[in-house]
């Protein structure tokens, strides 16, 4: 187990290194002169001296490698520099926006679990009947429908026509509903099928028959014996699709005007606010690797055989 953690931590370092290199290179390749832009934003008359001073202050006159080194050092101390536009530390901005994104993600995941688990359980318990067909249909729909379009449709129907829910913005519990459903639906459809497949597999195992022979209630067998075995592939896929979850947050935050990390990134792109983009990319890179690490650790939790190796009692 420890080996796994070590390997993942190594990967984390490697990924961060790559990402930092990438963003740094991209930033240097980017068109436009950041110095000029910062000065422009101030809307003051720009003199050569001002320019030179700012350049020196930002360290842009030093050799690239030194710049990279200094920048990396700062990053490791969680100093991502200041936003070009807002002149405030990027870190502060990110921390301010983080809770919003977390809220959205949690909401989406909640919707996903609420739909996928019952649907998957039913589809596995009654194969060939309506839950099965429904899950197949929904899976196709979920994998094919653009999430932002679904969001727009939902806004149109529920917020505009029926006036049940607010159109956009963040605030009450009602504001949570549409964004969470939009985020969670596509995932739910896919995971329902995944869960169904895993359950069918585990229900066909001999030990389930043994549990039935002991007279244990069917629902209990499903919930405590079959479900856990079926979770393994689900967790694996979840680790692999964390990227699309992130993509979803960006799209949905923009769609519903939620002030989260995703919308921050989009705004920064349009405003060419490079430090912010850098901060976002690095943060999400770390997030992805950490999630993968958690996924690996969860294998040990779900299957004790992995945890213990296969030692036998004498």
């Amino acid at each position: 187990m420890l080996k796994l953690v070590k390997a993942r931590l190594l990967q984390l370092v490697f990924v961060l290194f790559l990402l930092s290199l990438l963003t740094f290179t991209l930033m240097k390749l980017a068109p436009g002169d950041p110095v000029l832009r910062i000065l422009e934003v101030d809307e003051l008359a720009v003199t050569q001296a001002d320019e030179a001073a700012l350049r020196k202050e930002l360290g842009f006159d030093r050799p690239l490698l030194v710049q990279y080194g200094e920048w990396m050092l700062n990053v490791l101390q969680l100093d991502f520099g200041n936003s070009y536009i807002k002149e405030k530390p990027v870190l502060d901005e990110m921390i301010a926006r983080l809770p919003t994104t977390i809220q959205l993600t949690v909401g989406g995941l909640a919707v996903m679990v609420l739909i996928a688990v019952p649907l998957g359980l039913l589809a596995a318990k009654y194969p060939g009947r309506w839950p099965d067909h429904l899950s197949r249909f929904l899976a196709l729909l979920g994998a094919s429908i653009p999430s932002f379009w679904m969001g727009l449709l939902l806004i149109y129907v529920f917020a505009f026509k029926l006036q049940w829910l607010p159109t956009m913005g963040k605030g009450s519990a009602q504001h949570m509903i549409l964004p969470s459903v939009t985020l969670g639906f596509a995932m739910a459809a896919v995971y329902a099928r995944l869960l169904r497949a895993g359950l069918l597999e585990s229900l066909s195992q001999e030990y389930i028959r043994a549990a039935r022979a002991r007279g244990i209630a069917e629902w209990r067998i499903l919930w405590r014996h079959a479900l856990r075995a079926a979770l393994l592939p689900v967790v694996t896929v979840f680790g692999m699709s964390i990227g699309s979850l992130l993509a979803g947050t960006v799209v949905i935050e923009t769609l519903f005007s939620w002030p989260g990390l995703g919308s921050m990134a989009v705004e920064a792109i349009f405003q060419r606010d490079y430090p912010v983009i850098q901060g976002y990319v690095l943060l999400t890179g770390v997030f992805v690797v950490v999630v993968n690490l958690l996924v690996d650790l969860s294998y040990g939790l779900l299957d004790p055989r992995i945890r213990y190796g296969k030692g036998e009692l004498s």
């Binding site: 002991r214 007279g215 405590r224 856990r228 075995a229 055989r305 009692l313």
Partner: protein, 317 residues
């Protein structure tokens, strides 16, 4: 104390109006615990039906061990599964009666049958690897079984489980806290026995319990089984493919071939006067230990003769 608790639970009202306070001991020795009458089982594939079991009948009394013997595909495991109501979806019962303690349980809804399983009818599987769920500790599964049938607290159930693990010659505390993969095959099978016998069923069905184990371990498991049967007085239906194996442990042996019981006699009778050619063939399949000894003795004689002959030849030629 656990015995008292179990007695209390067992005497609660059973389905179809078994009266409270009628322990099994009052069932007279001649009444059967399980009686199969003309059981038919078939498999449905599209439009075609394949009969897997034709008109099988037998009965088992208290303290009696009936062995159902046959080769693979003879229908013996199917019969066992049918009794429990655990036939796979593709198999169906085509007729007959399964009478358990005087009730035709064939007609019972699954919910009522479930109450029998584990409590009145215990089952031990052939594949010890499949007896317990791999990622739940053995102890937890035992407690779960107990609490599915009786209203005992966790600790009460735990003490029952521990006692029975002890009964099957296992280090109780250690096994209780282990995962199934941490136990050897023999240990797992004995734990499975404990799980099956814990609630003192009237009938234990053992489906080839030792096939997957080596001979010595298997013998040990069967010894435990016999002892437990004597202790609890339950009936045992033992399924096996090895006639010799069950010869010394079964009271009655029923030989199955292609879904039919071709011969059913007491063990002694079968050994000495097997009538059906198939039975005789099974008996011949593996020689008796005494026959082996005779064989060795003959070989030894032959070898000695050969030696003395060559010596004689050497001396006189």
């Amino acid at each position: 104390m656990s015995q008292l608790l179990l007695e209390r639970e067992r005497n609660k009202v059973l389905p179809n109006g078994y009266e409270t306070g009628q322990p099994v001991a009052s069932l007279s020795a001649s009444e059967s615990v399980l009686r199969l009458e003309n059981l038919k089982v078939y498999a449905q594939q599209g439009k075609r039906r394949y009969m897997l079991v034709h008109d099988s009948s037998f009965s088992i009394r208290r303290r009696e061990t009936l062995a159902l013997v046959g080769e693979s595909g003879s229908g013996k495991s199917v019969t066992a599964s049918a009794v429990l109501g655990l036939l796979p979806n593709s198999l169906h019962i085509g007729g007959g009666r399964i009478v358990f303690q005087g009730e035709d349980i064939l007609l019972w809804p699954d919910k009522m049958k479930r109450r029998l399983r584990g409590k009145k009818i215990g089952f031990v599987f052939q594949d010890y690897q499949g007896s317990f769920t791999p990622f739940i500790k053995v102890g937890k599964q035992l407690v779960e079984t107990i609490r599915s049938h009786c209203e005992l607290s966790f600790n009460e159930a735990k003490s029952v489980a521990l006692e029975w693990l002890h009964q099957v010659d296992l280090p109780a505390e250690r096994v209780f806290n282990s995962y199934p993969f941490q136990l050897s095959g023999g240990q797992r099978q004995r734990a499975a026995l404990a799980a099956a016998m814990m609630l003192q069923p009237e009938l234990l069905i053992a489906d080839e319990p030792t096939t997957a184990l080596d001979v010595l371990t298997g013998e040990r498991v069967l010894d435990v089984l016999t002892r437990l049967q004597r202790q609890t007085g339950c009936a045992v239906l033992m399924i096996s493919h090895d006639l010799r194996h069950v010869m010394k442990r079964a009271d009655t042996i029923a030989v199955m071939k292609d879904g039919r019981i071709v011969e059913m006699e007491s063990a002694e009778t079968l050994r000495l006067q097997a009538r059906h050619p198939y039975t005789q063939m099974l008996l011949k399949a593996r020689p008796l230990l005494s026959e082996i000894h005779r064989g060795f003795a003959m070989e030894a004689e032959a070898a000695e003769t050969a030696q003395s002959t060559s010596r004689w030849e050497a001396e006189f030629t």
